[in-house]
Structures are given as structure tokens and as C-alpha cells.
Symmetry: C2
Subunit: 575 residues, 2 copies
């Protein structure tokens, strides 16, 4: 592509609404254009990357025996009503009526549609397993879309759905897709971690789910990672042990102690000269399950945090929320002085985190204004003693098995695989004849990759202050060929090189524009193609050499013109 | 693809809502699945054809120097309000509000979006011409969607938009795209005609527009076609001469004649023993232009029909409609006896079709109950004598130049190219610096191909009573390989052939299902891949030969197993 003919424009200014590097760089490098809130046009230069990501995913899905189809983006409400999700999808699903007053929606996901075509097509166990996938546009009506392609409203997803007669078969295909996903992200040149994820309250205990996270400092997800054992889990799901808790063993009686106006763990512990881990943090939640609402007091070591997802799963709650201040007051709690002893609330659920040593002594709130207890020993002084794993894993924790140190990384979720079980097949009454001639409900798995999100994540992981540093396999082009010079003879010579590179199937952008060298180098760095080929008129007249610069390492190679193709190919292969 | 592993199912029954062959055959052959009214999933077997069509179009567009991008399917109302189309698009555009109460729509077309990104990217004539295209999902909210992919609500389009400083440049790119379109449909193996189309009331006189019509008996468009000169035009636009009119020359005076209860041309002419061409058909229309409403009497030769589009263009009308019965009465017309003589309406516009010989004598209505005139000679007896080309071209007409016979074909519009001029660039205030440093409004062209519609049109053109007959380049696969036999040895041998064909990059469906030969042959014919390779156990044991059957011609070739790949390749190349 000659830049004099390309629909491409770079920008010096960063748009004010672009908060993260990928959004800023995609706008500045002329890869995307904002059409409306969360709505982007993928410009020719950017769309090449999107299509390369699509193609890698397509090849790996095909190789894993998945079959490609395309479902409509607009789907009828009836299907969602049948599965019971029409009212549950919430505000993110954009619903509307057509001219015939029929309910429709812009699909944010396609379990219902695919299960419907499955039940109309497959009747016998002999035709299973089968995995169907599509690469399609999805829509999620974020009220405040932000971060460019990272959290747009309209975006491209690869979503796949597998069907099986039994769990071993689901496990087998799940493992195949796991490997296919690893292949995808490896081929895209991304550093990623596969983490155990949370399956949600509905998931059965043995159903697996994993997230594929691109490692990046700006990632919104936290990953607990053990370099020694390879353990990796989303912090929401991670199970670890505390590393450093030393119990305070004493037989001294519990006693009230004045803590005037000290309402936070930090204030109280500083005031009492106690380690935070020797106090208990008291948190009050309401948990709704079906029609039942419960009030729950959670007790954690003073320097730990609650993992709400673990609490929700433990309580099997549909909805969980901390009590707001006015609710605390109404429920008879004294904010800042709440504790496990001397409570008068009826039907209160009290749970200690597993890390709380029940024979150790702690400072706790006394449920009286400006008072705490010292030497509260749960096993001795508490009436409720239930324990569960409720704390949020953190840096410095140990793995459950092996007691190896874990650390926290940040990541961007680009893929998610999930064993759905019979949730949708049951809801849509799918029946398949099994080996014994009986009707059985098949199991499902679902497997997503955020195609457009991958492009943004790749930039979050691979950029510097000058611009993008594309991995070769998903770069819009391989080579940015900059001609520095205006002489007609050198222009003709450059054109010849450009033609040769194209004939060698090297994807090359030829900067033949009539602008200065500084401008060209800045654009080359901003766009971030893996290699820059520079034909400088002055240098070339002296030594007959061109330069190849590696965008990532900055390494420079001097080459003769006739070596260009071969050198570029070998460098690309090594990247 | 082995059919035992394929997500594919054929159906004996034709769904009751499928009225045309392509809809029936796509459903029966398991290519599409209906999700809702006008909403279809393209199943794996059908999606392969769609993607092949996309790929041919993409290659030809790239070759014509067009650049691919992708615009969002959901676009903000603001852009449409700016162009003035928000209120004009009518019921076919599905509009709705998002959770933030912003106006949005599902784009049926993208002139606004592309013009917006153009005006933000291109500032100088040096960067023109440029042509941008996308292959994307579109939505049109038909109240009664029908005909499967022929007139679905959600469908795939290739839409392209070109930008130019002047008309010669637009003409040049238009000609390039014209050729690219010819290449596309030729490569798809379709018989097609390029016809002059109607540009609508807004088009300037020199703006070209052409439709690409796939020739098919079931087509909803009529094409006027001259085999000798190559002239082709949509009947709406076609200009021809009548072939066979013989004037009735007489000096006899006009006289009233009783025609009791004879109200149609046919009845009157039969009753009076007159040729229909020697009577005049009187049609009354109302035409609205801006705030002005006019009543118009049109006079045509008795056996001609009115081309409303020509009348509308002649009157420069925004809206045109025949007067309903009650409106006729109200306006003082006597239905069945309307004529050009003795009219009392004020401000009536009277126009004769160009084919009416003004010195010839005609039978016309007398504007009195049960009465007509004989020997009405317009030049002698009429007060208004305006003439214009208003008749609908028909079979047997002659070309304007050359007087060669034309015939009527039916076609399916699959492509449309259109010189838009400055309609959208003006509406969206696009300004480009021209060679003289002045701001100028660029011109646009737009170019569409209905990707999913092409698949349906290909079937309308290529099928028989047994099923589809795919052109090779867009068939889901090239070869349907049917094994007839159950012996494990022959199955292993068939599997070896299947592997070899795949290694030779021949796209093959291997029917390894445990069903009878009749079932396999029926499915093979229904699916309509160009070649069928048959390995019959019994025959093979006798003579060691396989059969290749050509789906279209029915020709059968006996071959040795080791010749299969080479023979298939040579047959495919010849198809």
C-alpha cells in the first residue's frame, strides 16, 4: 500500500475521552474512528489487524473440528423468554420492538439461538459431539462506554458452543478448545495466562471455567499467579493460604476498652498498638436468595479483604450487597464498633473466614459506641463459630498445596471457556436419543474470544512512548518502507524495491509521501509495524545500503538492496 | 468433511412459508435455519457459499484499488439528522433509543457514516480519488419479510463509496467498479445482465446508474433486452419504440356512440370491433410536488401500460398515485368513460404518450355515462396536446436507435452502482481543498452487492426438480463423495481416497453415513455440488472403477481410483 493512495491519517493529539494507551494509540495511529458512544469504524489500517486475528482464530477453531456458521445479530425475544433470560439479562441487552410490534434484541451472546438450531437439527447421540462457532458482531448497551475497543458497545466476538451426551465428552472437547485457545494467543504473539475463573452461583461444583488473560499493567483483572507451580486464577476465584499469621495465644479474659472515635481497623490498631492481623474486621451484608433476605456478619483478619464472590457462592445468594449506613443503623449496628460479641439481632448469620485462628486472641468491636473488646477468643467467647474461605487472595499468600509464594499480576480477559452443563438444553427442552434409545438432555460448553478486544489488549501489552509495537502475526502490515529523498531517480528505485517486496508476499506500506523524514519516522513508530525499511537518499548515494530497524528492539541492520526481501523474511520469522 | 461428523441435515418437506425455489431449496438442503421473521442462521454448509461469495467480491474490490473497512451496524441518529434522512428513511429503518435515551438505528445503508469519516480524514484533492468498502450486516425492517435470503430483514451487503473532485474522475472509478462487478458475477458463474436503472427523481441528468441482474424466471424485476445491440435496461427505465402501430387515417367527424356498461378497453373494443391500439386509455393520477397537488390525465394507446416512474420524473413529482374510485367521483370523473374531450375540471394536466399518433383516429371515453367517442383525432379534436415518453416498454418493442427488436427477461437485482453526485457531501458540509487552494464539495459514487442475495439468486438461476446446481466457484464444496457399501475394507479404501482428495486441496464432502444409496443420491442432488464421486462396492469389485457424475449435465465418467484427483480437477476447471 502506497501511503499517497491510502485512506490513512495519523494524529498528534490524543482525544480527551481516550484514557488508556490502546484507545489513545488506536485513535492517534488512524486505526479506528469514533462514530458514536462505544461505536467505532475499523479503518482500513486497523481492520487488517482485526481480520488477521479473526483468521488465526478461524484456523485454530477449524483445526479443533469446530464448524463455522453465522447467527443473526438481531434475535427474537421469544427465544430469550423461553430460556427465562429475557428479564434477567438486564440493561446491557438492548431490546426493542420492530414495526410488527415483535420483541427483538441485539444479541450480546447466542446460547439460545444456537441451542434452538441444535434441537431442530440433531436427534441422536451418534451425531455428537459437535461444536459450532461464529465470528460475529455483538452489542452490549454500556451506559458509559469507555476505553475504545476494550469496552465498546458494538464489538466482534468469536463464540463457540459444544454439545455432548456426557461429562467425559464435554471434558475432552473442553480440553481441545483450551489447547486451541493457547494456540491462538501464542500465534498472535501475546504473553498470556490461563486462569481458573469463577463459574458463578449457577455452576455445578465439577464444571470447569477458565479465562485467558493477556498480561498487561493496565489490565482491569487481577490474577493470582505462582511462578513455581504455574498456578493461576482470577483473584475472584483464587484459593490461597495466608503466609504470615502468628496467633496471639493468651488466656487473659476478654475486656472492654475505650477507643474514642476510632472507627477503622487502622485507627483502632494504631491506638491500641496492635498488629492489624490481631484484630477482626466486621462486615455486614444482606444476601437475597429467592424470596429470603438474610443479614450476614462476616469476620476477617483485620488486614484481609472480603471476596464477595466467595461469600455469594457460600450463601448461594442471588444478590449480595453490603448494608448502607442508614441500613446499618436501622438494623441496630453501630458503624465503627461492630463485633461478634453482644449482638442482639435476630436471625443473624455470622461467618468467620478460614484464616481466622479460632483459638487466637483478637481486638473486635464491642457493639457499643467508642468501645472495643481486647482478648476476644472466638472458640472461647463466640456463640457462632462457622468458618468458610471468604478472604481475597493477595500478594505474598501461599498456594494451597505446596505452600509456594504467589504474586498478583494484572491481565485483560480476551478469552473465556465455560462448561455450561445442561442449563440451556434443559431450559429449551432439548432431548437427544442416547445409546439405550432413551431421551437425554445433552450438556453444553461455551467458548468466547473477544476479537476486537484482542487488538486493544495486544497494544496494552506492546507499546512504548512512541507508539504501538505490533506482534508480527497481527500487525496491519509487516514492513514500513520509508523513502527519505525526493530525487526522481531514487523514487523510481524505491518503487522497484516496493514492487519486489510485494512480489515476495511481504506486506509493505510504502511511505512515498512528500513529507520530511521526522514526520515519516514518527508515523512509523506510532503505527508500530515490526520492521522499518529506510532508503535514505544521502546514505544510499554514499554506501549503497538500506537500513532495517526492528521496532521492538531498536536494532538496526545495514543491508544491500538485493538482500532486502531475504533479510526481512528471516527477521520476521525470528520475531 | 465427513457427513457423520457434519452439522448437516436435509429435509423432505418444504416449509409452508417458502414460496420460491431458492428459499425452499436452501431450507431443504440444510443451508439456512429460520430464527425469526426474516432472520436466518447461515448453517455451516450454507455459510461456506456466503464466504466464497464474500471472498470473490473482496478480491475484485481490492484489485480495483478499493480499501476495506468496517463501520458499525448500529449508528447514531445524529448523523442521519444531519443529512436530513432520519425522517425520510421511513419504516424500513429500524430506530430505537439506547439506555441513555440516544437515538440509534440499525443501518440499512451507510452513506452518512462513511461521509463522516471521510470529512474527518481527507482534506486535500491530493488524497483523491478514494474508494472505501465494507462487507457487513444490514437490517431492513420489512413488515412482511419473505422469500428467505432474497428479501430477509438481516442480510449481508458489500457496500462501497467513492469520493472525487470532479465528474470525469467519478466516471473513471465508476467504470472501474462496473468492470469489477462484471468480474465478480462472472467468477461466480452466473448469467447476468447489466441494465440501465432509474436514478430516481433526485438524480441529475448526467448521473449514471446501473443494476446487475441475475437472469432467472422467478426474478421480480423485468429487463428490456436487445440481443442484437446488447441494449439492456430495467423496464422502469427502458426507452423503446412501439413496433407495430398502424394509424387509422380518416376525416370522419367525431361522434358519440353508445357503449352500455362497457367500461374497460377490452370490452369497448370488442363491442365496437376496433383494435385496442385504436383506442386511448385514460388514466387519472394525482401528483404532489412540494406543496402543490395536481390532477393529471394520461392518455396511452389502448394496449400500452403506463410507466409510473417516467410520469413521476416528467412531472418532477415527490409523490404520485392513481386516483382511487371515490376520489375519481369526487373530482367529477366517470369511471369507465373518461376521455380527453369535454372535460370540465379546472387546472387539469393532460399528457399524451409519445406513441400516440396525433393525426390518427381513436375511440375515447366521452365523459358521459355509457358513451364513447369514435374518430377522436387529437390534433383536430383536443385542446391539450402535450406529449411525453410515458409508456412501459414491452416485448416486441424496437430499440430507439437502430429499430432492433427487444424482448423481456426476468432478473434478480444483485448489484447496483450509482453516481450520487454531491447529495451527501453537500448535506454533511464536506469541503476539500482543490488544486487552486479553494474549498470544493467532492462528488460520490456508491456501489452495492447483496452478498446473501447472490446466494439465493444463484439457486433461482441454477436448479432443477431434484435440487440445487451450484456454480463451482461458490458451491459449499466441490465434490460429494458417496460410498455405497458397508464392508470395512471398502470403507477403509474410501477413507484413503477421501484423504488423498483433501491433500490435493479438493473440497470434498464424504458421505460415510450408514444410510442407503437412494438416500445418499437424493441428498447429493439436493445439495447440488458440481461433481459426485461414487464408490459402489459391487461395481468396484467387478471392474475396479469409480464414477464421477456431473450434477449439471448428468454426464457420467468411469475412472480408476488413482485418476480421481486429476479427473476431478480437470472437470472443475472446465465447468
Amino acid at each position: 500500500m502506497k501511503l499517497t493512495r491510502a485512506f490513512w491519517q495519523t494524529y498528534k493529539e490524543t482525544p480527551s475521552d481516550a484514557e488508556i494507551p490502546s484507545h489513545q494509540l488506536m485513535m492517534r495511529a488512524g486505526l479506528i474512528h469514533k462514530v458514536g458512544a462505544g461505536l467505532y469504524t475499523y479503518l482500513p489500517m486497523g481492520y487488517r489487524t482485526i481480520r488477521k486475528i479473526e483468521q488465526i482464530v478461524r484456523e485454530e477453531m477449524d483445526r479443533a473440528n469446530c464448524q463455522e456458521l453465522l447467527m443473526p445479530m438481531v434475535t427474537p425475544g421469544e427465544l430469550w423468554q423461553e430460556s427465562g433470560r429475557w428479564d434477567k439479562m438486564g440493561a446491557l441487552m438492548l431490546t426493542f420492538k420492530d414495526k410488527g410490534e415483535r420483541d427483538l434484541c441485539l444479541s450480546p451472546t447466542n446460547e439460545e439461538t444456537v441451542t434452538d438450531v441444535f434441537r431442530k437439527t440433531i436427534k441422536s447421540y451418534k451425531d455428537l459431539p459437535v461444536t459450532l462457532y461464529q465470528i460475529n458482531t455483538k452489542f452490549r448497551d454500556e451506559i458509559r462506554p469507555r476505553f475504545g475497543l476494550m469496552r465498546g458497545r458494538e464489538f466482534t466476538m468469536k463464540d463457540a458452543y459444544s454439545f455432548h451426551m456426557d461429562k467425559p465428552c464435554l471434558d475432552q472437547v473442553y480440553a481441545d478448545l483450551y489447547r486451541a485457545y493457547e494456540n491462538c494467543f501464542r500465534r498472535m504473539g501475546l504473553e498470556f495466562t490461563v486462569v481458573e475463573a469463577d463459574g458463578g452461583a449457577m455452576a455445578s461444583a465439577d464444571s470447569q471455567t477458565h479465562e485467558f488473560q493477556v498480561v498487561a499493567d493496565s489490565g482491569e483483572d487481577q490474577i493470582i499467579y505462582c511462578a513455581e507451580t504455574g498456578y493461576a486464577a482470577n483473584i475472584e476465584k483464587a484459593r490461597t493460604k495466608r503466609a504470615d499469621f502468628k496467633p496471639l495465644m493468651t488466656q487473659a479474659p476478654m475486656k472492654e476498652i475505650a477507643t474514642p472515635d476510632r472507627k477503622t481497623i487502622e485507627d483502632v490498631c494504631t491506638y491500641l498498638k496492635t498488629e492489624q492481623a490481631h484484630s477482626l474486621k466486621s462486615l455486614v451484608y444482606k444476601a437475597i436468595t429467592g424470596q429470603v433476605e438474610k443479614t450476614v456478619l462476616v469476620l476477617l483478619l483485620g488486614d484481609d479483604s472480603l471476596n464477595e464472590i466467595k461469600l455469594s457462592a457460600y450463601l448461594k445468594a442471588d444478590h449480595l450487597a453490603p448494608l448502607a449506613d442508614h441500613e446499618l443503623t436501622k438494623a441496630g449496628f453501630l458503624k465503627g464498633f461492630i463485633g461478634p460479641h453482644g449482638l442482639t439481632q435476630k436471625d443473624l448469620v455470622v461467618i468467620y473466614d478460614q484464616a481466622v485462628a479460632m483459638d487466637s486472641a483478637f481486638v473486635v468491636g464491642a457493639n457499643k459506641t467508642d468501645l472495643h473488646f481486647e482478648n476476644f477468643i472466638p472458640n472461647r467467647d463466640a456463640s457462632y463459630k462457622d468458618q468458610a474461605d471468604l478472604r481475597l487472595a493477595k500478594e505474598g499468600d501461599l498456594t494451597i498445596e505446596g505452600s509456594k509464594k504467589v504474586s498478583v499480576r494484572r491481565g485483560i480477559e480476551v478469552g473465556h471457556i465455560f462448561q455450561l452443563g445442561d442449563k440451556y438444553t434443559k431450559a429449551l427442552s432439548v432431548k437427544i436419543l442416547d445409546k439405550n434409545g432413551k431421551q437425554a438432555v445433552p450438556l453444553m460448553g461455551c467458548y468466547g474470544i473477544g476479537i476486537t478486544r484482542v487488538a486493544a489488549a495486544a497494544i496494552e501489552q506492546n507499546h512504548d512512548e512512541k507508539g504501538i509495537i505490533w506482534p508480527a502475526s497481527i500487525a496491519p502490515y509487516h514492513v514500513y518502507f520509508a523513502l527519505i529523498g525526493k530525487d526522481p531517480e531514487i523514487l523510481a528505485f524505491a518503487d522497484k524495491i516496493y514492487q519486489e517486496l510485494q512480489e515476495q508476499k511481504i506486506e509493505v506500506v510504502f511511505d512515498d509521501r512528500n513529507v520530511g523524514p521526522g514526520f515519516k519516522f514518527k508515523d512509523a513508530d506510532l503505527l508500530g509495524l515490526p520492521l522499518q525499511l529506510v532508503l535514505g537518499e544521502r546514505d544510499f548515494k554514499e554506501d549503497g545500503m538500506l537500513e532495517i530497524r526492528e521496532r521492538k528492539s531498536g536494532l538496526v541492520h545495514k543491508i544491500k538492496p538485493e538482500e532486502a526481501s531475504a533479510k526481512i523474511k528471516s527477521l520476521l520469522a525470528s520475531l
